[in-house]
């Protein structure tokens, strides 16, 4: 595909402003960016703290000047101060740390508008709940804050018995006194179950006569057939599927709060990493209405491509799964802060759900109690190979979700069949890439695959992985050190909202690789702090072809910046987790400012 960003940046930096008209001619309407006008001097200069550039050539500088949404100068303070004019605001960092804001390497932005309407009933570190009473308090606060009216649903997420001091499932009768008139649903951390209160059972029509469906769980009140509160799997999924959905307007109204989840964590580029047609319509509307102030990178889901073609290319007469020749033009450039960057393939499920696809069986039974379970591919290999051939032939970037080594093998087969080579610079991103085998790193290098790892998995589910796959396989999860040694560009992600948007925890986990019990899982794969931060900044930018504008502090780069209250390169390791964003800037404009406690 034509790499618009690279070409644009190339022209800008080598030919200069005179080429502006030429550049504009190459760009679709609305994609033009603010120009840094050196002659006008700095709008703002940051100094007086640690300034971490994420630039290997010069890791720290004394001062940074910004203008027109870009970095104007970065270097020694005396030199940067030359850009100062009477209008320049000089910001004293007061010993805090300025660095490039973070690029979300993979997550699901469309979960954010939903989640801001829900109460967080997770246990630490995701949420505040350690006992049943905490849940009631969190829900009461939520009702107040959200102005939830009598009769409306109260929804919480992250419920998990393992966080409760009581060590048992929450009962409907423990929610009923505080919430007699509101149906309450607390979704289990696996998203496969929930606790309901009595009003909710009434609303969904579950009572003592409701049979437990095959493959489902309905806990009953002792000595009766009355549902007790907790439901799982097939007893829960239809309820969840039939929940009243927020209107488009309601969702649009949440977008500020939704973006604040990212901005408050110092993230200014968000990923919508498996976009359905209706979500894309929503995001386009949000963009057109000017509601986006962070960049959103959308990856349409491969199964949605026929629907998207029907919608956006109604005159196309190709076969059902064909992609029009013009389709690549829809990718690679922002329009009102929304861009499509590539097509998302999903080859398997999740390792913690045992639905990832491995080449060797797990040591524990499958999700349905199966023996010799190694998971399954989501699609037959021939279909994956055919769809990959089609997308590669059109020059559209491929983002493939592969968790188990067998799904990675399928991806390698598919790319080889399509004739893909590393020197074509296609930047195929293998999302998660968690249980890859050492021998597969060679294939990544050969095919130009770039892994986006998920190191916080070591913390959240590391012990489960040891139990399911054994210590050897589990220790090689998200092998960042080995991948970097092969020259692979690695990013790191949180898969929001599977885990919270928390770059400091991502960074920390890649550095320490400790599980919840403190075990170091795969000590050889630990990386240093600098590389760990690169995975969240410049490497993540590279994967979406924005390394020439994001992820580093250097002249000409976007002024996407974050001020942190401590320097993640120098604090004690355990203190990394406590580092907070103080202020976040998107192209020089403040988009988040921490309220003093």
């Amino acid at each position: 595909m034509t790499d618009r960003i690279d070409r644009r940046e190339f022209i800008k930096t080598t030919v200069g402003a005179a080429a502006g008209a030429l550049v504009a001619a190459h760009l679709p309407a609305g994609a033009a960016e603010p120009q840094a006008e050196a002659s006008q001097g700095a709008e703002r200069i940051f100094r007086g703290g640690s300034i971490v550039t994420m630039d290997d050539a010069r890791k720290e500088v004394q001062a940074v000047a910004i203008a027109g949404g870009k970095i104007l100068a970065a270097g020694d303070e005396a030199e940067v101060m030359k850009t100062r004019t009477d209008a320049t605001q000089v910001v004293d960092l007061g010993g805090k740390t300025l660095m490039p804001s973070f690029v979300d390497a993979h997550g699901h932005f469309m979960n954010a508008p939903q989640i801001v309407k829900w109460a967080n009933v997770s246990g630490p570190p995701v949420g505040p709940v350690t006992k049943i009473a905490d849940i009631v308090t969190v829900l009461q606060d939520h009702v107040k804050k959200q102005g939830i009216k009598k009769g409306d649903w109260i929804i919480g997420y992250g419920y998990d018995r393992s966080n409760l001091a009581e060590g048992r499932e929450l009962l409907a009768s423990e929610l009923d006194p505080a919430f007699p008139d509101n149906p309450v649903m607390l979704i289990h951390s696996s998203n496969h179950g929930a606790v309901l209160n009595s009003a909710a059972f009434k609303a969904v029509g579950y009572d003592e006569n409701t049979p437990t469906p095959p493959g489902g769980i309905i806990n009953r009140v002792e000595g009766s057939n009355k549902p007790a509160g907790f439901l799982m799997e097939t007893a829960f999924l239809p309820i969840f599927g039939n929940m009243p959905q927020p209107s488009e307007r309601e969702l649009l109204d949440t977008l500020h709060e939704a973006q604040q989840i990212y901005a408050a964590a110092g993230v200014t580029t968000c990923q919508e990493g498996a976009t359905h047609a209706k979500d894309l319509a929503f995001l386009r509307k949000a963009a057109d209405q000017g509601l986006l102030y962070l960049d959103i990178v959308s990856l349409p889901f491969i199964l949605e491509v026929p629907a998207l073609v029907r919608e956006y290319a109604p005159d196309f007469t190709g076969k059902p799964n064909d992609i029009p020749d013009e389709a690549p033009q829809a990718f690679g450039s922002y329009r009102n802060r929304l861009k499509l960057q590539g097509i998302k393939f999903t080859l398997d499920g999740s390792p913690q759900g045992k639905t990832a696809f491995w080449s060797k069986p797990l040591l524990t039974p499958g999700p349905g109690g199966e023996e010799n379970w190694r998971g399954q591919p989501l699609f037959p290999p021939v279909q994956v190979t055919a769809a990959l051939a089609q997308v590669y032939a059109k020059g559209i970037q491929v983002f493939a979700h592969c968790n188990g080594d067998a799904s990675i093998d399928m991806m390698i087969d598919g790319a080889r069949a399509a004739g893909v080579k590393a020197d074509e610079d296609r930047r195929t991103v293998i999302i998660h890439s968690q249980f890859q085998r050492p021998d597969q790193l060679e294939a990544y290098a050969e095919l130009g695959f770039s892994p986006s790892y998920f190191t916080v998995h070591v913390f959240y589910w590391g012990e489960e992985h040891v139990a399911n796959t054994g210590i050897e396989r589990a220790s090689f999860i998200s092998p960042m050190k080995s991948a970097a040694a092969k020259g692979l560009v690695c990013s790191n992600h949180s898969d929001f909202s599977v885990t919270p948007m928390d770059p400091m925890r991502m960074m920390w986990s890649a550095v320490v690789r400790t599980t919840r019990t403190g075990r170091v899982l795969g000590p050889d794969e630990r990386i240093d702090r600098w590389e760990s931060l690169k995975a969240l900044t410049t490497n993540a930018a590279w994967q979406i072809r924005e390394e020439d504008r994001k992820g580093k502090i250097a002249p000409g780069m976007l002024a996407d910046l974050v001020i942190l209250d401590a320097n993640p390169l120098t604090v004690e390791t355990d203190r990394i987790l406590g580092i907070k964003a103080v202020e976040t800037f998107k192209e020089g404009k403040s988009v988040y400012k921490r309220q003093p406690a």
Binding site: L237, G241, Q376, P380
Partner: protein, 325 residues
């Protein structure tokens, strides 16, 4: 969620290319008056005669013969929702599992909406299945699919020499012991074998009075000698033990049995009996009312199959209808 729909459903599984979609197209164009709701993974592959399509609205396709085709692209819940909107408009729901799906898992999805499961049909590519079973990616999935079938449809038998077919049958019998096997070409299997006849044996609906007669079991050969049908009619009530014996004893030459039963333990109302392969169910139906209680079952099996012993025995133990009245 409160009210469960009374809509029996069938899962059609089988690996990619086995002939699931051909089977669906075949069903949708030979419905014999049955109104089918069909959930498919991918609209692109459903190749329905354009003349039959009445309307196309997003993810649903309405057909002139009363059938509806609904894509699963937005998830199972939404597709079921589309069907619930038109509750009562359909006689049977057919769910196409994806090529790598485990059909028993899909059956659970239907059951979680409290729909009665009629059966799991797994279509097998006679030419490819043994190669597929050895594929490093999908071999274990293919084997699991076979083991989860209530009925196996061995398709594309015309592409396989008869001696290979013989060893294939034995191989399948080893992987799915006792599961009846229907052989087909181009997925052409009659609807009454796959889904049962249109609801005339359904809850509360008895046969026309003139069909009542003496106890007998008669056999018909139909469909150019591919299938054999037995009709069991008897006035003597069946005990639950006898019925369980019947269900367990039909054997792997019998594909399906359907009808209503006069049950000794619950003699005042009909019991609706359904069997596909080894999977069977008995659900209480409407009261006999004016008509006298009697059992009527239609059993469909392989052409040339012997009458199952259990059927013979039930006939022998029955008293003539006249002496009961």
């Amino acid at each position: 969620m409160g009210q469960a729909m009374d809509l029996p459903f069938t899962v059609i599984g089988g690996y990619l290319g086995a002939g699931k979609t051909t089977l669906l197209n075949h069903l949708l164009t030979n419905t014999a008056g049955m109104r089918l709701a069909v959930l498919v993974n991918d609209f692109g592959s459903v190749n329905i005669d354009i003349d039959l399509i009445q309307s196309h609205d997003g993810e649903t396709l309405s057909l002139a013969n009363g059938c509806m085709c609904c894509s699963l692209v937005n998830g199972f819940a939404q597709a079921i929702g589309e069907i619930e909107k038109r509750a009562g408009a359909f006689d049977h729901l057919v769910i196409e599992a994806s090529g790598v799906a485990l059909p028993a898992k899909i059956a659970q999805y239907g059951q979680m909406y409290r729909l009665p499961l009629d059966g799991i049909l797994v279509v097998v590519d006679a030419e490819q299945v043994r190669t597929q079973a050895e594929n490093r990616y999908v071999g274990d999935t293919v084997l699991r699919q076979l083991a989860q079938a209530d009925l196996l449809i061995l398709n594309k038998t015309d592409l396989v020499p008869s001696e290979d077919l013989e060893s294939l049958r034995a191989w399948l019998a080893g992987l799915a012991p006792g599961t009846p096997l229907i052989e087909s070409v181009r997925s052409e299997v009659p609807l009454e074998v796959l889904l049962g006849a249109r609801g005339d044996c359904g809850k509360g609906r008895g046969p026309a009075p003139e069909q009542q007669g003496q106890d007998h079991a008669h056999a018909d050969h139909n469909h150019v000698g591919t299938y054999r049908t037995w009709t069991l009619e008897r006035a003597t009530p069946l005990t639950r033990a006898e019925l369980e014996g019947l269900a367990a004893g039909l054997g792997s030459d019998i594909y399906r049995a359907k009808g209503f039963v006069h049950l000794a333990e619950d003699p005042d109302r009909r019991q609706v009996y359904q069997q596909v392969g080894a999977r069977w169910s008995l659900e209480p139906g409407a009261a006999w009312g004016a008509s006298s209680g009697h059992t009527q079952l239609v059993v469909i099996g392989r052409a040339g199959a012997a009458t199952p012993e259990v059927l013979d025995r039930l006939m022998a133990s029955a008293m003539p209808l006249a002496s009961v009245a």
